[in-house]
Amino acid sequence: MSFGLPPVFAYALRRLLQAVPVIILIMVATFLLLKLAPGDTVDALVGDMGGADAAYIARMRAEYGLDQPVWVQLWRYMAKLATFDLGWSFVYEQPVSVVLMDRLGTTLMLMAASLSLAFTLGIALGAIAARKAYSLTDNLISTLGLVFYATPSFFLSLLFIYLFSVKLGWLPVGGIKTIAGFYTGWDHVVDVALHLIMPTAALSLIYLSFYMRLMRATVLEVADLDFVRTARAKGAGEFRLMIHHIMRNALLPVITLLGLQFSTVLGGSVVVETIFTLPGLGQLASQSVVQRDMNTLMGIIFLCSIIVVVVNFLTDVLYARLDSRIELA
C-alpha cells in the first residue's frame, strides 16, 4: 500500500472538520457551566483586595463586559477564541495565551517521557508475561501490574520523595530545574532530566500497567489465531513467530488504547505536577481552580482539547500505517 502525502492531507482536513464542532461544543458548555458558578472574576479580585465599594465593582464589571447578558458574553468570548485570543489572566496579569505557552513545554516533556516509558515497558513486559503465561515470571509481572494499577500516583509520588529525596537524597524533591543553579548546555539538560525522573515514574506506572495487561491479553489472543498456526506449520521458530506474526498484530489494540488514554494521562499530570511543583499546565489547572481564574481555566481546557485532538489524529495515522487493512482517504 502506498502512503503518499495527499490522502493524509485529505484525511487530516476531514478530521479537522470533525474536531471543530466538538471543540466548539466543549468551549460553549464550559463557558456556560462556569457562569453557573457562584461569584465571578471580579468577586475573586475584590476578595483578594479585601473589599471595594459598589461603584468601583460595577465599573470593573462593565470594563470586563461582565454586566452584559450571558449570551453576549458567550458570543464575545467565542468570537475572540476564533482568533485564538484567550483573554486576560487577572491572576498572572498577562494574556492567558502567554501564561499557557510558558507552561506547555514542561507538560509536553512530562507527557512524552511518561508515555514512552509506559508504552515501551508495558508492551515488553506484557509480551513476556504472555509468552510465559501462567509461569512464575508471568505471575510476578502480573502481580506487579496489579499493584501499579492500584497505587494512586500521588501516593506513589510521596513514597518516591520519601525514599529518593528524603532518605537517600539522590533526586531533587521538586521543580523543573535547580533554582539558582544557572546551568547551561548539557548540564542544564541533565538537571532537568533529574528533576523529571520521579514525576515521570509516578505518572507512568499506572498506565504502564494498563498497556501491560492489554498487551498480555492480546498476545495470548493473537497467539491462538489461525495464521500463527500456519506460520508454525511452515517451520517458523518461536522468536520469529513472536516478532513477525504475533507482536505485529497484537500492537494494534495497544496503539488504540494509547490514543484513547492520552487525555486521561494529561489529567493525571495535574496531581503529579502539583506534588513535584512542576510549572506545567496541570499545576496551573489546579491553581486556577483554587484562585477562580476562569479565563485561564478555559484556556487550559481549550489547549488540552487541541492537544488531545492532534494526538488522536496522529495515533490514527500511525494505526492506519501499521494496519494494512486500513487505507486513509
Binding site: 489461525d226 498456526r229 500456519t230 506460520a231 517451520g235 520469529r240 494494512s324 486500513i326 487505507e327 486513509l328
Partner: protein, 547 residues
C-alpha cells in the same frame, strides 16, 4: 529407499485429552498408511478427532493438555514422536506441509502474500532474495493465480477466499513436500471454487508424487478426490479401505449411517399441483447496500444485492432459493420477512403488500410469516429458557402466557424433544436440537409461510439428515409452505419442489427441481450442478434405524 516405503505410517496412535473432557482420548488406536502419490481421506463428524490427528503428525498439539499418549507416527520410516523440536521445525513446511480450512484467517493479515511465501523459502533454503522471489512467483503461477507479480505484492484482504486458498497451496507446495496435510481445505468455499481447488490439489499432487492426508466431513468430496478412506467416529477408526469399496459398499454400521445421510441428487417428482393458491408473491424486489470503503474513509460504494426479483410460493410447496455466496439469496429471505427494508418491489400475502405496511401493522402480520435461522446458536437468546423462547411469539400476539407455555411443551414433542427440557437454556442443547427449538418457535404462531435461511448448513451430515426429515414430515403433516434458502444443491434436491437459481442478485433459472436438475438451461446452473462434489457417485440406498 524404495518405492514401497510409505510416506506416513501411523500405528496405534492414542491422543490424550485433558482431565474433565467428555472422553479421555481424542483418538484411540489410529492405524493409517499413506503411500507416495496417494490421497487418503480421513472422514468424520465434528468431535471425531480428525483434526487432532493432523496436529499430532505435525507435532503441533496444544501440549501438554493434549498429547500423544501411545503409538507411533513414522514419516518415511522415521519416528516423528521421538524427534526434537529443532528437528521438527526443519521438517515442518519442508517435508510435511499443511493447508488449513479458513483461508480468511490462515494468512497473516499484516504481511503481503509475497512475504508469507518468501518466509517458507527463507526458513528452509539458502536461496538468494532474487531466487526466492522468482520461485514464489513461479508457485503463484502454478496455482493458476491471475497476474502473479501483483498477487505477490497484495495483502490477504485484497484477494478473494478462493485465491487465498490457492496462496496457501502455493505456500505448502513450494518446497515439494513429501506429505501434504489438508484439513478441510474446501469447506469454507463455494461449490464452484471448491471443485477448482480440489482439481488443483489433485493436479499438483500428481506432479509432485506427494502423499496427501485429506481431512473432511463431506462424502461428496471424498468421492471426488480419495484413493483410500478412513472413517473416524469419536476417536475410533471404524472402517478403512479403498475409496470405491467404502463409498459403495460400506461395512460398518456408522459408515452406512453416514453415507445413508448424504442426500441423493435425485429430486422427488413434483407433487404440488400448479393450481394450488399462491400464499406469498414477490414482485420486482430490489435491494442495494451502501457499503463503506475503508474504516477511515468516507467513500461509499453501492453493492447491489438483489435486482428485480419476482417469485411465487404456492400453498404446501417448498420453493428453494439456491446460489453461492454473494448471490443475494440471504437478502431475499430478509426482505420478505422485512428484517431488511427493501428499495423497491412488493411482497404480497393475503392480498396485502407486506412492504407497504406500517410498523404496527407489520408486527401484526408477522405471525403469518415465520423464520428459521441459519445459526442455531446465535438465533436463540442465550439468556432465555426454551419454553419462553417458544412461547414468546404467541404471548407477544396476545395469547394467555400459561396456555402459550403449555402449547410450547407440546411443540417440543412435535419436534421430537423431551418436554422435560422446557426449562433449560439453549447452550445445554446440541446444534441439531437447537435447530429443532428454532423450528418449534417458528411453528408456535401457526404461520402460513416459513422462511428457512440455510437451516441445516451448520450441522453435521447425520444430524442434518434428521432435521431435514423432520422439516419434510412437518411440512407434509401441517401443509406448510416453505421458502428454503440454501447453498447446498444436495439439500435442495431432497427437499424442494421448485427452485430458483440466483447469481449476483438475479434469477438465472427457475422451475421444478427435477426438471432443473435433469436438464439445466442456463450456463451458470450447469456449472453449479457439475461442480457438486461427488456428483457421479450415487450413494447406495441403505436402510438403517438411525437415518
Amino acid at each position: 529407499m524404495t518405492e514401497t516405503t510409505p510416506v506416513l505410517q501411523i500405528s496405534g496412535l492414542k491422543i490424550a485429552l485433558p482431565k474433565g473432557s467428555d472422553r479421555p482420548y481424542a483418538l484411540e488406536g489410529l492405524d493409517l498408511e499413506i503411500n507416495p502419490g496417494e490421497i487418503v481421506c480421513l472422514v468424520g463428524e465434528s468431535g471425531s478427532g480428525k483434526s487432532l490427528s493432523a496436529g499430532a503428525i505435525m507435532r503441533l498439539l496444544p501440549e501438554p493438555h493434549v498429547h500423544v499418549a501411545e503409538g507411533s507416527i513414522k514419516f518415511r520410516g522415521e519416528e516423528i514422536v521421538a524427534k526434537s523440536e529443532t528437528e521438527m521445525r526443519q521438517i515442518r513446511g519442508r517435508d510435511i506441509a499443511m493447508i488449513f480450512q479458513e483461508p480468511m484467517t490462515a494468512l497473516n493479515p499484516q504481511k503481503t502474500v509475497g512475504w508469507q511465501l518468501d518466509e517458507v523459502l527463507r526458513l528452509h533454503t539458502k536461496m538468494s532474495r532474487k531466487e526466492r522471489r522468482a520461485r514464489a512467483i513461479e508457485m503463484l503461477e502454478r496455482v493458476h493465480l491471475p497476474d502473479p507479480p501483483s498477487a505477490y505484492n497484495a495483502y490477504p484482504h485484497q484477494i478473494s477466499g478462493g485465491q487465498r486458498q490457492r496462496v496457501m497451496i502455493a505456500m505448502a507446495l513450494s518446497l515439494s513436500p513429501k506429505l501434504i496435510i489438508a484439513d478441510e481445505p474446501t469447506t469454507a468455499l463455494d461449490v464452484t471454487t471448491q471443485l477448482q481447488i480440489l482439481k488443483l490439489i489433485r493436479e499438483l499432487q500428481e506432479q509432485e508424487g506427494a502423499g496427501v492426508l485429506f481431512i473432511t466431513h463431506d462424502f461428496g468430496v471424498v468421492a471426488e478426490i480419495a484413493d483410500k478412506v478412513a472413517v473416524l467416529r469419536k476417536g475410533i477408526l471404524v472402517e478403512q479401505g479403498p475409496a470405491s469399496e467404502v463409498l459403495n459398499n460400506p461395512q460398518h454400521a456408522y459408515t452406512r449411517a453416514l453415507i445413508g445421510a448424504v442426500p441423493a441428487l435425485t429430486p422427488p417428482p413434483l407433487k404440488v399441483p400448479s393450481t394450488a393458491p399462491v400464499v406469498l408473491k414477490g414482485t420486482g424486489l430490489k435491494k442495494t447496500f451502501a457499503a463503506r470503503g475503508g474504516m477511515l474513509s468516507g467513500k461509499r460504494k453501492a453493492v447491489t444485492a438483489v435486482k428485480d426479483l419476482t417469485f411465487e410460493l404456492r400453498q404446501g410447496e417448498t420453493l428453494g432459493v439456491v446460489g453461492e455466496s454473494g448471490s443475494g439469496k440471504t437478502t431475499v429471505s430478509r426482505i420478505v420477512t422485512r428484517l431488511l427494508e427493501c428499495d423497491a418491489g412488493k411482497v404480497e400475502m393475503d392480498g396485502k403488500d407486506l412492504l407497504a405496511l406500517s410498523p404496527r401493522e407489520m408486527r401484526e402480520m408477522r405471525k403469518h410469516i415465520q423464520m428459521v435461522f441459519q445459526d442455531p446458536m446465535a438465533s436463540l437468546n442465550p439468556r432465555k429458557r426454551v419454553v419462553d423462547l417458544i412461547a414468546q411469539g404467541p404471548i407477544v400476539h396476545g395469547a394467555d402466557p400459561a396456555k402459550a407455555r403449555a402449547d410450547a411443551r407440546r411443540l417440543l414433542e412435535l419436534v421430537e424433544l423431551s418436554p422435560a427440557s422446557a426449562s433449560r437454556f439453549p447452550h445445554e442443547f446440541s446444534g441439531g436440537q437447537r435447530q429443532r427449538i428454532g423450528i418449534a418457535r417458528a411453528l408456535a404462531l401457526e404461520p402460513k409461510v416459513i422462511v428457512a435461511d440455510e437451516p441445516v448448513s451448520a450441522l453435521d451430515v447425520s444430524v442434518q439428515a434428521q432435521v431435514l426429515k423432520l422439516l419434510a414430515d412437518l411440512r407434509d403433516r401441517l401443509n406448510l409452505s416453505l421458502l428454503f434458502v440454501t447453498h447446498d444443491l444436495r439439500v435442495a434436491a431432497q427437499l424442494c419442489d421448485r427452485i430458483i437459481v440466483m447469481q449476483k442478485g438475479e434469477i438465472v433459472e427457475s422451475g421444478p427441481t427435477a426438471e432443473v436438475f435433469a436438464n439445466p438451461q442456463h450456463a451458470y446452473t450447469q456449472k453449479l450442478l457439475s461442480s457438486i462434489p461427488g456428483r457421479d457417485w450415487t450413494p447406495p440406498v441403505i436402510r438403517t434405524d438411525a437415518a
